[in-house]
Symmetry: D2
Subunit: 361 residues, 4 copies
């Protein structure tokens, strides 16, 4: 109830601060009998890891997970699965100056307001460091959903206005996405994004962007009416991620300019295995539940708040104070945002996949 758990039947609880001993995730509700090992967690953790390329923060976190429970002889047991990832490269001293500072764009002030105190070191619990636990749990969800043929794939759609040429209903492969450290699957666009991100880093600035996340293989009818629609829980999961400014599904905001007659996706087939429509403006969601067409959503991510350039924050007495953030930060969050957002989508889908199994008599 205090906000550190997510999901109903596939329920993830996380704990950990940026500069504390480590990050924890407990998954309660994981079905018994799933083959699993630490190796299954590594690919997604590597895709999220700092220092993976020249485009991201140069902090070095190995992010080696230890599974503390829930596994026996290579399979899940139905008991809660818990994962511990120790923090290794936490330079707390970099942050001592932030003890009495509210940085602009950060949770410093709001967290302090909420609890009357805060762990100021690297944002403490409000740091994006906590997403490492989500990614580890998401990797378990990915393994679970794979048994049902469900796959989640995301990519960078735009950086600072540089946008994928055909941003409509195009699909890509994991290989195309991972071919560039930008995680933009279009090489020429990726090149321009790389240049822009490097320019921003050199100027001590940062840049925003958008990411698309898709899911395929979803059976129709995932989602709970009326408050826990699949769309609603996806929106919640994604908007719980740091730096997300908005989310849209299928045609999204462009639907607001459309006429009904032009917007509707003509149905070509509607069977137990899913709906087939001529177009996919509905983004795989009808009435908020999965239709069987590919799920497709887009997130807006703001430019990194921590930048070396001077900005106006406030001191702990509330008065304005110039702030230059000197730690090691991503000039653009998008490349590392993709695996994090994929993880949230995976957590939502795993939960609703389990929930849908309870509905039929």
């Amino acid at each position: 109830m205090a906000g550190n758990s997510f999901g109903q039947l596939f329920r993830v609880t996380t704990a950990g601060e940026s500069h504390g001993p480590g990050q924890l995730a407990i998954i309660d509700g994981l079905p018994a009998g799933l083959e699993l090992s630490v190796d299954d967690l590594l690919p997604d953790l590597r895709r999220r890891r700092p220092g993976q390329s020249a485009l991201v923060t140069q902090r070095q976190e190995e992010d080696l997970p230890e599974i503390l429970s829930g596994l026996f002889e290579g399979r899940t047991t139905g008991a809660p699965l818990s994962i511990l990832i120790r923090n290794t490269d936490a330079r707390s001293k970099d942050y001592e100056s932030l003890r009495d500072t509210f940085r602009p764009g950060h949770a410093d002030y709001t967290w302090q307001s909420r609890f009357g105190r805060r762990d100021h070191r690297g944002g403490g619990r409000s740091s994006a460091r906590e997403t490492v636990a989500r990614v580890a749990a998401g990797a378990v969800a990915r393994k679970l959903l794979a048994t049902a043929g469900i796959a989640v794939l995301g990519w960078v759609d735009s950086v600072g206005g540089i946008t994928l040429p055909a941003s409509g209903e195009d699909m890509y492969t994991r290989e195309e996405v991972e071919a560039s450290p930008t995680r933009c699957p279009h090489p020429e666009t990726a090149g321009r994004m790389t240049e822009l991100i490097e320019t921003c880093r050199e100027e001590g600035d940062s840049i925003g962007g958008t990411a698309v996340i898709t899911a395929t293989g979803l059976p129709p009818g995932l989602g709970e009416p009326v408050f826990d629609k699949l769309r609603a829980d996806l929106a919640k999961g994604l908007c719980s991620l740091p730096a997300v400014m908005g989310v849209e599904f299928g045609a999204g905001f462009s639907a607001a300019e459309a006429r009904g007659s032009a917007f509707q996706d003509a149905i070509e087939h509607a069977g137990p295995e899913g709906l087939r429509t001529r177009s996919n403006r509905h983004g795989g969601l009808l009435g908020g539940l999965s239709s069987g067409m590919p799920l497709r959503l887009r997130c807006a991510v703001k430019p990194t708040s921590s930048i070396p350039m001077a900005q106006q924050g406030a001191g702990s007495d509330g008065s304005p104070k110039e702030v230059c953030v000197t730690g090691r930060h991503d000039p653009c969050l998008l490349p590392r945002f993709v695996p994090i957002a994929e993880a949230m989508v995976l957590l939502v889908l795993a939960d609703h996949w389990l929930r849908a199994r309870s509905a039929a008599l």
Copy 2:
């Protein structure tokens, strides 16, 4: 857990189908001692009501609520407050042809997939009719939040591309919003929207749009880290509403094109009463918690799916089938969407306002 409840400490459970006996809302967790009567529910219910103007559906629902519990001598008691609104103008016959039809853009097919059956009359539980219970509960939340000086106000921002001139950080009054049946507070723009909506109605078509919802008077620090951020729960609440295609906070998707140095809101003051920034691109949310600046978000609403023009849906055997929806429907959802979206924001804020009271020792 089956999706018909919302909120943790201010917990609303709803029930009811479009053409069943009525709509129910139970609020569990409403603090004792709040002055309340049926009259407090009427203004919001009237703003949502069908038939309120020439721009909306001409169905006639009186929507007179009965409070069945939780009230004693004019004040809440701490017991659950329950509200029943009988359905009165349900013309089930209008829908008999839909028994074997999956309409495009509707939940018909996904609901059928989820449960193996459905009440096809007017969408049954998936009908927007269910939002009447949310609006009634939202009116109670409004009364509760008013005791803390918190107010929620929304308006129509755009219809089919016709947009409020200054859509940045402008604020309006309830009177300005209610002056036009469009709920667009800018008279000239409202006039153009009216024309467009009427054209759509005449052509048997529909049109989408956007709405802005704001909240003022929020203390800083509302929201639960890390999954139940205020931003996350707002996104969930709004994306649980019918026809919503996306939601954005503050600068929203435009943040994706911005540089950090230009995007950050310079802090002018940061005290216990809230943050004051020079601009409000952060939309009143930092780290996903309320900053004390006005909360501001925008929703994209698709054009009404039910239109008289012929569209391609499917029959219950899955094959394509032409569909003309002949019931009485809104050519544009936006005017009635405003009170509904306000209600969801009120429900989220009431919940988090109560939750924040539990945090300090």
Copy 3:
């Protein structure tokens, strides 16, 4: 979260006060496709109803339920099922003297402490009247569990020390139980109980007793480790009922005097369909989960607190005050407790039956 909901996947929310307009139950999570009508609710409601015999309160409540949602063409739809039972014989005037009185043994004082106010008429929300909503919901659970061959049956085991001769592992039929208005299935014992209850009524006094509740047909393995064991949720459900002073499972408190070598139930067979043991001291629960042997538990119910004899309560200023309760009350709660306790067991079992379906991959 405010305590008026019960269960996770079969989730019941109730509302209503003793002298308000009515009692409500909403069941969220009821699987679609269950045949159901109002007639299914009547037998259990009649067994709970006041005025059913000379042994119980002579209040007259017809307790006719109206199903407001969740049903379509005779079957459940997956949407929340809601049931309204209007209060009809609420003589509020009987209670005016209680406005400023804290009765001993009642929730008057504790409810007032909790909320700073209360609806004093007949106990308001704390009245046993609220159990009518549980019984209605329990009848739905009974219908659901019957599809899996699970049946719940309770009876009165003792009244004021008059106890069923063989109280060990005996089983009875519904007919034997309902043959006497005491709901004690042993005619001679039932006769002695009747005499004692009538003596108490004549003397303006009341008397306590115990009830046994059993369930048969349970598959092995119902229950969630470690906090939500079936045993734990049964204990919670039963101890949430008015006047319950304790609950024990199988051999219960007598286990505290036993040696392990004598206490263990020797296993004769252990297959997928359940465990067969020579004795059933474990009461059908091992490790807190169902073993497949009959579930068996016993509740202690205190004597009715509302009695005509003078007792020492307190006034609203806190000072002692003599109280004579002049309303119409049961001299012994046990006969009506049986259907109420059955309902709670049914609600717990329905919930865990649904939960267990989510566990296997």
Copy 4:
């Protein structure tokens, strides 16, 4: 939802198996600002620890906790507090013979039925080893409740029928309880219990007993009507503990033999600080909520199921099979049950103490 979490606002999630790497507890909802260190956890962990006296199992677990999150500069931050206790003396080989055995009285068979597999080593997740995480979390709850003057104290009331002389409303001190390794505060009775327990150990047998748990300093009105009564959640918490066969409150089962006129506790005073009654048969609970009088409950604990004497269990093929449990086990669970049961009561009270703070406007 999968049963490994407890509480709403003070929410504990645990994980860990008997012979896995360790035991975890995450507390979500712990208020910020509480002074806390690892040292606060040690006294309760020591009272639970194996090997603490000749009366208990001679397994050696150091049970040294590591706090992984939620603490900063000696105070809680509002972020989830997580505690890891590594398993150190897990002799898995002792249990290899149990791979294909269902022991009588154990969760082996029911867990296998529930999940289709199990970690057979020492009971895996169903082992009483998991209570170490509850005790660690309970110690945090104890620290929190101490700030409000609430204290919890339990003792052994009976072992194998040897019972404390005056078992009515007597109270003891921590020192009196801890004076004997039996945790019976009456020296002469404790001596007789010791003899009986040692006899059982020598004979390869085990013995049951009862424990009383009390709480003082509770404000009146703790508890949520109607399902989440304090009494109901206490019953759930205690019946979720291994080996508990029943729980009773105040006069408990003896109330079933009483007349109302004799049973009622005459009220001497009723003020905001609590109720004062001449007797305390109600055990500090009225209408299921705290009255302000001392809370008092009693648990029945069965004899240890794991005993060296031969018993009839079953093989994994379901046929009967003789079982002799040769590991190191407690001949009587009661001495170690006291701190474990105290922990559950502390967790329930901490949760309801936080919940009650949300009720008043």
